[in-house]
Amino acid sequence: MGSKTISRRRFFIESCAGVSSAWLLSNVLDIPFAQEHAHQAALSPTPTKLEFLSPEQAAEIEAIAAQIIPTDETPGAREARVIYFIDRALATFASDDRPAVMKGLDDLQSRVRKRFKNSGKFSELKSKQQIEVLKSIEKGSFFELIRTMTVCGMFADPSYGGNYNEIGWKMVGFSDDFAFEPPFGFYDQESEAK
């Protein structure tokens, strides 16, 4: 590389901060990925194991992810196994982000400890309390990072480890088919009928 190196992390964050019009955005998201790795895990019949995060760290991050896309009448980030996507990201392409995640988790812990006088575990708070805490950090880069990773884990092709059973796609009404036939939507159907 030349005299300046490119910060992968910067792209990651900037892309979320939103730089230009929406349709330009997706291509500045910078997420190179160890695909083979992901494929292997996705195909493996045994329960997916954590590769980078400790179970405690994973529980904290998963709790955040589960507030970002909660489980209600329909499955959310937890059921889509977003945490495995995030863990693998940190183990591979997003290793640059490890310090930010670790620091973010530490800060979160002190914040929780201070506010609720407990062990500092976010995942042990009640949902209402969790929301209160996240509201206090939602403008920061740590939250932004976890949000982006959660969304990627929810909606990227299931072969990357998240979006289990296409939960994310089903949620929004997307389907990845080889072919569709018109009418495609309500309004073209309606006008065809006339």
């Binding site: 300046k4 490119i6 929406a22 909606f155 929004v172």
Partner: protein, 558 residues
């Protein structure tokens, strides 16, 4: 289908032998030129920095093609830098995007395929000069380019039907329009209410089988993706195969050209490039055609300095890299009561050209076109597809994602960019790519008129969505752009060697056996969707080059 091409014997020339023509970049233009020159009987090598992929590589994977940029330029290996003006220090940030593979941008493009209108070529004489700009007429007219527009449409395969504002055409489109989508029906309804006109979008995608290729299956993976059906009329799927079938054309992938070489007489002798093992090689040629796009073409000329050409090759005018035009882009979004399912089928089915012409009553220069579409795959949608005031996480966020993915529509506004000399491509003095070559540095600020035009058209876009019966309409503020899909004007065509880089035959004013044909040749930006014109120019350039070669005007420089 692919089968018929899979077994063709690929031509490989002896790398030490001189070829007739060497083409740099096998993209939207280079692919056409390769076919035309090989068909005319010349021996042609096209050097392409990207890989040679085929339909089986074009899977449906948003993460890979949009986030990992599997077939577009990779900012880690080839970073760009950006600044709004010369006064700023340029920062490393993605500022340009193009297809980086055999077929170039014609592989991932959305395939909107608009001709320019007659006015685009002569607007400067109609409207007069605009201070502080290089606003100029083209040295050719629409009538001169028309046969080549037709040739492009028929050779590549384009679906469409003429609209009320189109300039005359000598032949209808080869294929009828693709089926209308909900976005198209809404555009028609709203346009009718407002007294505007929605016309079928011309698309370089097959609505019916054509010349052995299958019709579009409406899978929806067009923009950013390669087409696994061969229904998108990329050069990879069409002319490049025909070029190879002549037995006189070698497409050499993973070959990154770093220097165009010249002799003492100032003629081009060939090029030096990195092969796939990053080994430097030389390929000799009688003449070189540069088709590396509006960013990489000027970069290569600026890198090709020599004692005879101290400011870069073919740059006696100082205009190499200058007058970069992105086209203006603005949009407005809306949610509808019912499902549109815009993720199905091609990006666009109806366009609106009522505001194409410049109207002095508006008080500023500019024109543009509108289209309705919603090209968002689920991941991109969840990151930034909801209205700006929507929550970004939590129950309500989830509810909105679930409800609105299939119900969202945007109107995209495509507008003019004035040619401004301070908008340009230069070599970054500090940042290098993985091969040690200077990064493309982009300097760009939209002209005040360009911004006004974007704003004007965004206001029309909101009107259109309201008239279409949207439940909610929003728009993000229009502002200076810092990113380009359309890389235009940086080696402009002209009659005056002091004011332009190439003449109307696409020959550089300075070097008789060096030609340039790609987005950089454009003199004005048109109103968006430049590829139809870029490809018509490539057909015309090929014709001119063949004639010059046949009349003995191009001799080996060796």
């Amino acid at each position: 289908m692919a089968k018929s091409y899979a077994n063709i014997a690929r031509t490989k020339f002896d790398q030490n032998a001189e070829v007739d023509f060497l083409i740099i970049g096998a993209g939207a233009s280079g692919g056409i030129i390769a076919k035309e020159l090989a068909t005319a009987g010349f021996r042609v090598v096209a050097l392409e920095q990207g890989p040679y992929l085929s339909e089986k590589d074009f899977v449906h994977d948003e993460f890979k093609f949009m986030q990992q940029r599997a077939i577009t330029n990779d900012y880690k290996r080839q970073p760009n830098t950006f600044r709004h003006s010369e006064k700023e220090e340029a920062k490393v940030q993605p500022a340009i995007i193009y297809g980086r593979l055999v077929g170039g941008g014609s592989v991932p493009f959305a395939a909107n395929y608009w001709r320019l209108h007659e006015i685009d070529f002569i607007e400067r004489s109609k409207l007069g000069p605009i201070a502080g700009t290089g606003f100029s007429d083209w040295p050719i007219t629409y009538a001169e380019l028309e046969p080549y527009y037709t040739k492009a449409e028929w050779d590549l395969g384009v679906s469409g039907a003429p609209g009320p504002f189109d300039s005359p055409r000598s032949r209808p489109y080869p294929l009828p329009p693709l089926p209308i989508k909900s976005s198209g029906v809404l555009a028609e309804r709203a346009a009718r209410k407002l007294g505007w006109h929605a016309q079928p979008a011309p698309m370089a995608i097959l609505s019916k089988p054509y010349r052995g290729r299958s019709a579009c299956a409406h899978c929806g993976f067009c923009s950013y993706f390669g087409c696994e059906m061969e229904a998108k009329s990329s050069t990879l799927t069409t002319v490049i195969r025909e070029a190879e079938k002549t037995g006189r054309c070698e497409i050499r992938p993973n070959s990154y050209v770093r220097q165009i070489e010249v002799n003492k007489a100032g003629l081009v002798t060939g090029v030096t490039y990195f092969d796939e093992n990053r080994k430097e090689r030389f390929q000799a040629a009688k003449a070189v055609v540069l088709s590396a796009n509006g960013a990489e073409t000027p970069k290569l000329l600026l890198m090709s300095k020599s004692s005879k050409f101290p400011h870069g090759l073919a740059n006696s005018s100082g205009k190499v890299g200058k007058y970069l035009m992105f086209n203006g882009h603005a949009n407005a979004g809306a949610v509808f009561e019912q499902q549109l399912n815009e993720f199905k089928s091609v990006a666009v089915s109806r366009i609106i050209h009522d505001f194409y012409n410049c109207d002095p009553k508006r008080g500023f220069y500019g024109g543009g076109g509108l289209d309705t579409r919603f090209v968002q795959y689920p991941l991109g949608f969840a990151i930034r597809g909801l209205p700006p005031d929507a929550p970004r996480w939590g129950r309500e966020y989830k509810r909105m994602l679930a409800e609105q993915y299939t119900r969202t529509l945007t109107v995209l506004c495509h507008t003019t960019s004035l040619a401004v000399e301070s908008n340009n491509i230069t070599l970054d003095p500090h940042v290098k790519d993985e091969w040690g070559l200077p990064a493309v540095r982009v300097t760009y600020t939209d002209h005040a008129s360009d911004l006004k035009m974007m704003q004007f058209l965004q206001d029309r876009a909101k009107e259109l969505l309201d008239a279409a019966g949207a439940r909610k309409v929003w728009a993000r503020p229009v502002g200076p752009q810092s990113f380009g899909f359309h890389l235009l004007g940086t080696c402009r065509m002209g009659n005056d060697p002091k004011e332009s880089v190439i003449d109307k035959d696409h020959r550089t004013h300075d070097v008789p056996n060096l030609f340039i044909s790609d987005g950089s040749s454009m003199v004005t930006s048109g109103r968006g969707q430049p590829t139809c014109t870029i490809q018509a120019l490539a057909y015309r350039a090929s014709d001119r080059i063949v004639q010059l070669a046949k009349s003995g005007e191009i001799k080996s420089a060796l």
